[in-house]
């Protein structure tokens, strides 16, 4: 009988954490992700220190910055000591602060959506996985429908409905409503893969003897779902979340690119890229910054997702 080590008991997450801490790439990507989070939180502070804000039309208000056509006069998109990343063509807003505030938009939508997705996906996936039968068939049907439905089209079609049906003419569409709609729609489609994955996981977990063991000691269904099954799905849920989050950031930007994302004047990367696409022959710099920022952000997140998965994968350690 091998003796159990005398050190602290190590839960599966503690084990994963230790594995993760040894992963230099993982730490680096986590660093980048955290940096983005910090930048998002500190955006107003940075803006104050830097002396610019994301909404003022500097280029229009100060002569000599933009040409009559609205293009930055200085080369490289108007980059200067004053405007580090240059100016937005047309309105002449500051690119750096727009980018900074853009992180907030992306992160807010993505994080809120992912939380909803996790909740809905876990509840539905685990429950259906455990119940099977009619619930399972209904679930599979709904999933099939949602999978085959072109999400992007739906979002495109939905935005005017909301703007005209739910907002009174005398007021701006409140920012929270824009965010809520986006988040809801992302969540409405985003839970499907997670729930389907969890359903499969739980179905195989259900066959594991420990579920029988719990039933054998007289545990209720609730106990089995909440205490026996749920703790076993956190790892795949965590992995799913870290991998799905950059997908939402990307999708949000894609929507703005197609013209139905978060609207002016809330800074948004996708809209910046769309504007960049419009002027990219004249001012490629303007597309470069949001394009590269979002790329770095998503790469870091995907990398983090990979590393979290590796760390949680029982096969790579134990």
């Amino acid at each position: 009988m091998a003796d159990v080590q005398t050190q602290e008991p190590r839960g599966p997450f503690a084990v994963a954490l230790r594995a993760f801490r040894r992963d230099r790439l993982g730490l680096a990507s986590l660093g980048v992700v955290l940096l983005f989070a910090v930048l998002a939180l500190a955006a107003p502070l940075i803006a104050v220190l830097y002396g610019k804000n994301p909404t003022e039309h500097y280029g229009q208000n100060e002569p000599g910055l933009l040409s009559a056509e609205g293009l930055p006069v200085l080369p490289n998109g108007g980059m200067s000591g004053e405007f580090w990343f240059g100016l937005e063509p047309g309105l002449g807003r500051d690119v750096l602060t727009q980018l900074l505030y853009g992180i907030r938009t992306s992160l807010l939508v993505a994080v809120a959506a992912i939380v909803l997705i996790a909740v809905v996906g876990v509840v539905l996936g685990v429950t259906v996985g455990y119940l099977s039968g009619l619930a399972d068939r209904a679930f599979t049907f709904v999933c099939n429908v949602l999978l085959a439905f072109p999400t992007l089209l739906l979002l495109l079609a939905l935005s005017p409905v909301i703007q005209t049906r739910f907002v009174s003419p005398g007021e701006n569409e409140p920012a929270w409503m824009q965010f809520t709609v986006l988040v809801l729609v992302f969540a409405a489609f985003g839970w499907v893969p997670l729930a389907m994955m969890l359903r499969t996981t739980v179905r195989s977990l259900r066959e594991r003897e420990f579920v029988d063991a719990a039933r054998a000691v007289g545990a209720s269904r609730r106990h089995i779902v909440l205490r026996e099954l749920l703790p076993n799905v956190w790892a795949p849920v965590l992995v799913h979340i870290t991998i799905a989050l950059p997908g939402i950031v990307t999708a949000e930007a894609a929507l703005s690119f197609l013209g139905v994302g978060i609207s002016e004047p809330i800074p948004d990367w996708g809209r910046m890229i769309a504007r960049g696409a419009e002027v990219f022959y004249d001012d490629p710099t303007y597309m470069f910054f949001p394009g590269v920022t979002i790329l770095v952000f998503v790469v870091a997140f995907n990398l983090l997702g990979d590393c979290v998965r590796d760390a949680l994968d029982p096969r790579t350690h134990r």
């Binding site: 063991a213 039933r215 007289g218 703790p231 350690h317």
Partner: protein, 560 residues
Amino acid sequence: MTAHEKTGAPVLSVRDLTVSFTGPRGTVTAAEGVSFDLARGEVLGLVGESGSGKSTVGLAAMGLHDPARTTIRGTVEVGGTDVVGAGEARLKELRGGRIAMVFQDALASLSPFHAVGAQLAEAYRLHHKDAGRGEARARAVEMLERVGIAAARARDYPHQFSGGMRQRVMIAMALINHPDVLIADEPTTALDARVQRQVLDLLGELQREYGTAVVLVTHDVDMVAAATDRMLVMRHGRTVEQGSTHQLLTAATHPYTRALIGAAPSLETVPGTRLPTVDAPEPTARTNARVWGAVDEGKRTTLAEVSDLRVEFGGGRTLLGRRRPGTQAVRGVSLRVAEGETLGLVGESGSGKSTTARVLAGLQKPTGGTVRFDGRDITRAAEETALRRALSREVQLVFQDPYASLNPRRTVEEIVTTPLRVHTDLSRQERRDRAAELLEQVGLSTGHLPRYPHEFSGGQRQRIGIARALAPRPRLIIADEPVSALDVSVQAQVLNLLMDLRDDLGLSLLFVSHDLAVVRHLCDRVAVMHHGGIVETGSRDEVFDNPQEPYTKELLAARL
């Protein structure tokens, strides 16, 4: 099997073999300084508990370790070529041609995507370059028939075969090119006694016919005794002892060897005695046989009883609403367990033992028949939560796989206190105290409470499972093959524990197993199951010493 000829230079010569794996969690040395020679026609038994490095040595001889993650030192010579340093081209010729292997898990080792005949034919063609497809197919079919598989089944896929048949396909594939050396890695685990016997006989026959030298990897001492000339005992990657089989079996010098040999009960051991383990090779307490059968059968109070139990699985309906035929897992079983009695349920795989046990535990809904516990009708326990809850106070299960039956994401404390939460209104602290007490009872310590299952060894895990079963102070414990996933030495520990608890707490026990020796060692009464029905019931001695039914006789005869 005994070799007819053991002369000339060794066909396999292993010298100072050290194998270590590098992984993300550092380096594991799985074999260290292993040396042995194998002469033509000789059979070497490679014995040792799980994880002792047996398969590692076998794979090293084949040169099949992943070079990126494995460091191999020493030499492994096959017919004059050192496998350790050889290039891929040379290895391709050796593998399957001069040295072949029957891998441990036959189901996983056959490609699920190709028909078995094709897999065999491919093996033949790889070493007979000028053989045509037709010839290879003919050889494959021939070889399949040789191992007792009808030619017509050559087109079938592995999943359509039973475990024993798959194992035979593996053997046919390994021998199709008449290799000099065959490494048979636990070729009979997961097979029931009868099939085990058939497979071993076949292997011996072929080995004699082709003069193949065999390394027989196993942790089953009985099998070594029956089939090998020499044996090599491994532990923690090192050689413990090496010598002729006869000599080691009768007069092993190393205590570990002795413990290993003694740990498995045989049909000759005295029932109910404490078994030797690696930690306690010379057991002291309770050396006498359990005497239980003295009281008259009829006078005992019946605790649990099933009568005319029927269980049918599956079926369901087709698209058009037609019923599909289901599996008749249990067809009219009647059984009873008396207060304080240990009933053994034996039978080959798939005979319906587990299903019966699960019905009794309220986990499986029967299709027919009645189930009673302590006089109460509990037939509907699987559907009625309240009934099952009431039942689970008194009947508890110990499962076969100690790892699968413990939730990996819950601590030992949570696992052991779950029944207490369900059945008592003890406070958190009281539950913890009781859990600590239970752990002590099964030979673990309070310090283990906050740990997770993966931090324990197999034997310890099974003890946790037993502690959980004991928690609500049940009157009947159903143990469904609680030791078949364990090593012999660990098996001995768990059996000892069960016997101790039975004596201390006066538990009744339904003990399900396919291992006749274990059942004989532990049980007072035995029921033999076959094809979903009970063929014979009787006291231990009646059944083992004087079996009535042909099936029981066959089963006993199959023991090695």
